[in-house]
Symmetry: C2
Subunit: 157 residues, 2 copies
């Protein structure tokens, strides 16, 4: 399936659509407040990417490039992508939207870290992600999963 992944702009329409997603939290609330208080402009860049079905947002994820100096997961240290809030709204699940978003992230050719909040291990395994060796000091309550681009050393701490 060939879906068009778009970088989402911060505006009232996008933020209204975000309310359909389960993982609605401080990040979205903060964007809404910043927009209302004119701290950010309408149509500002956001760390969200999404796929529309018609004019309806049906899948989204957040993607942020973490600077190598904050890297605690990959060796040698290198910028990596943190991926979170990957979610497809119920009627559109199992149609390849989630896969399309993850493939989009992989095409940036940087290692990826994610910390899925829901039970989705099978999905992430299929996408080539693997668990880290748990380290309480680093991982605390997280269940980090990592993906490595081809040719990247698969050694993680």
């Amino acid at each position: 399936m060939n879906y068009k992944v778009e970088k989402l702009k911060v505006n009232y329409k996008t933020l209204e659509e975000f309310k359909k997603f389960k993982e609605y939290g401080l990040q979205e609330l903060s964007m809404l407040e910043d927009l209302e208080a004119n701290i950010i402009e309408n149509d500002s860049e956001s760390p969200f990417y999404g796929i529309y079905f018609g004019d309806k947002l049906v899948a989204r994820m957040s993607l942020y490039q973490v600077d190598a100096k904050f890297n605690r997961y990959f060796e040698p240290a290198k910028d990596y992508l943190e991926l979170w809030k990957l979610e497809v709204i119920p009627d559109y699940q199992h149609k390849g939207y989630g896969t399309a978003l993850v493939e989009f992230a992989k095409n940036k050719n940087l290692p990826i870290k994610t910390n899925p909040r829901v039970k989705s291990k099978d999905f992430w395994e299929k996408m080539g992600f693997s668990s880290v060796t748990y380290n309480v000091e680093r991982d605390l309550g997280e269940n980090p999963l990592l993906w490595f681009p081809e040719g990247f050393s698969e050694h993680s701490n």
Copy 2:
């Protein structure tokens, strides 16, 4: 209500009881593997605290002291406690077990950070926790909540 909060030891009984809790993840699996492989000893210390009803574990949390040098939440930088996996099993909810665990953490007189995974804002507000100003680079997909001991500067980044 006066409940006895105990530091939990890593052993097969504890790990079996952990399976009753929803937030069972890499941390628990890793403890189990380490125990099976004799990497850690039976009855090793864990970062978990819990409350028993009879010989049944009915509430638990994880608590870890984060070194001031990794502090990104409190100013001035100071050691703080990360609290996660606070959970009470269904039949024992709304009886003060969760509150007892959080009060136990507060009595250590360090600032506390938590990132609740479930919708529980009312509970945390009642416990005196407040939201941070969201910062994408620091918080990514988290919804951090902070608590400050008396006399501690309430300034956070």
